[in-house]
């Protein structure tokens, strides 16, 4: 399991680098999908298969589909690639990567001092255990999250509604009701 952990971790890092450096938006999204799947494999290796499966279902299977969908509809083409290339100049990425490097050093230092081996070989968490935790000690957080999602749903359906016409439009020639949808 340790080999699987380090290998999929490495793939996740490389794929994420691919997301950042790739100039074609659809290829970048493909890298992001690979990255999410490898993170799911990291979860599997850590002994949390339920979280790993949910990662693939929710992130790779649903959210990324929406991303790909939107990018395909925009159809950016060569212009988008040129813009991406302009953004990848050192002047732009140097500052954020320096800050990120500081975070990386902190993370590595934390991992160095802790017992990393114990974390890799965790016990297997079943779906039942996750459910008991979610609806036991974390019930409040789950309910708050549900409320937030409900509010988002109501907002989305309000923003995306079609305004109904006051009265059914009559097609003058045939007298039939016109299809509005």
């Amino acid at each position: 399991m340790e080999i699987a952990f380090y290998l999929s971790g490495l793939i996740a890092v490389l794929a994420t680098l691919g997301v950042i450096t790739n100039t074609n938006p659809v290829h970048a999204l493909l890298y992001l999908i690979v990255s999410l799947i490898s993170v799911a494999l990291v979860f599997f290796a850590l002994g949390a298969p339920f979280a790993g499966a949910l990662e693939v279902i929710v992130y790779a299977g649903a959210i990324m589909v929406l991303f790909v969908f939107v990018v395909m509809m925009l159809n950016l083409g060569d212009q988008g690639a040129a813009q991406e290339r302009a953004w990848l100049k050192p002047r732009i990425w140097l500052g954020p990567s320096l800050l990120a490097a500081v975070l990386l050093v902190t993370l590595i230092a934390t991992l160095w001092s802790g017992d990393a081996g114990r974390m890799v070989d965790g016990e297997i968490l079943t779906a039942k255990a996750v459910g008991t935790l979610l609806f036991g000690p974390w019930l409040m957080v789950v309910e708050l999250g549900a409320m937030l999602l409900l509010a988002a749903l109501v907002t989305a359906s309000h923003v995306g509604r079609t305004i109904p016409p006051d009265k059914p439009r009559i097609n003058a020639e045939s007298g039939a009701r016109k299809e509005v949808s």
Partner: protein, 326 residues
């Protein structure tokens, strides 16, 4: 023979089983292409392919030879990487899902404790085959097909998961073997009838079969997302669709019709018979139903099937709690 330790023998047998299941799944998918055409002919009062071999039984080989020797053409305006990747995703994600299906008490590839979730994950990945295939072709019909496929998937994947949660709640496990064993007395099709109906609908939508084949509607989109594909790349999309049919039939049998359980006959025969019955049902649906309009398919999914599965899950949970208060 010292190297032939029990561990090695066991793993060899497991590998052989996996290989046999893989081959049977692919071959069954291929054979179904011909069986479907013959059955459609029967129901539509015409002959269907009956020239090659006795009763047209060698039609499959003729089709295979033709499809293998066609020119494997990649359009110059296509995005090469994704264009090649898409059919591989289509085939691989569906074939990997066969891993979780227990065929008989001692046949099956993997005994995962998240069994059912693995299928959902693979069904989620399978969407990218259509999306990438449609986009990378650089063709507007293909893109429209891909767009329809992703919208359809988003509306059907949600209640596909919810439809099966009733079964999972009754079993108390995601493991497929546990689910089959829980059906020893009563098949889940009776207590979970609405779950079965909605999963059947969602399963058809996942495989893009009639009446949910809007992504590849021949009449309006000239075959949708795989319009630019030729030779074996098209073949992989094509066979992939039938492999998906076999997969969904096997899943329905495992989840709702007791898997290998049945009197008198050996388990594997029961499993095969039940799967065959559902494969025929898939073909019959194609022969019998017209293709509904695209937006109606989506509103049917969101406004009818999703509330139905939610109510079903609610009632199932209530009954479980009443029958067995903790």
């Amino acid at each position: 023979m010292s190297w032939l330790s029990p561990v090695i023998v066991a793993s060899l047998i497991a590998m052989l089983q996996a290989l046999v299941i893989l081959l049977v799944a692919v071959l069954l998918g291929a054979v179904m292409t011909v069986v479907e055409r013959r059955l459609l002919g029967l129901w539509q009062d015409r002959y269907g392919p009956n020239r090659v071999g006795p009763f047209g039984s060698l039609q499959l080989i003729a089709d295979m030879i033709k499809i293998f020797f066609k020119e494997d053409w990649i359009p110059p305006f296509a995005d090469r990487t994704l264009f090649v990747l898409a059919p591989a995703i289509a085939m691989a994600s569906l074939l990997l899902s066969f891993m979780i299906i227990p065929i008989t008490p001692d046949w099956g590839v993997a005994d995962l404790n998240i069994g059912l979730l693995f299928f959902f994950a693979m069904a989620g990945i399978n969407v990218y085959a259509v999306l990438f295939g449609g986009w990378s072709s650089g063709n507007k019909y293909a893109l429209i097909g891909a767009m329809r496929a992703s919208a359809q998937t988003l509306s059907y994947e949600v209640f596909m998961g919810l439809a099966l949660m009733g079964v999972v709640a009754m079993t108390g496990s995601f493991n497929m073997r546990d689910i089959v064993n829980a059906q020893q007395g009563l098949w889940f099709v009776i207590p979970q009838f609405f779950g079965f109906c909605t999963f059947l609908i969602a399963g058809i939508a996942v495989t893009h079969r009639h009446p949910f084949d809007q992504p590849e509607a021949e009449q309006e989109l000239a075959d949708g997302y795989h319009i630019e594909y030729s030779s074996m790349k098209f073949g992989m999309f094509f066979i992939g669709e039938y492999v998906g049919m076999v997969l969904v039939s096997a899943l329905i049998v495992t989840l709702f019709f007791g898997g290998w359980h049945g009197p008198l006959l050996p388990p594997v025969v029961w499993f095969a018979l039940k799967v065959a019955a559902f494969l025929v049902l898939f073909v019959l649906l194609r022969a019998a139903l017209p293709r509904p309009r695209y937006d109606r398919v989506m509103s049917f999914g969101w406004k009818f099937c999703l509330p139905l599965t939610l109510i079903n899950l609610l009632v199932t949970g209530a009954v479980i709690l009443i029958a067995d208060p903790m």
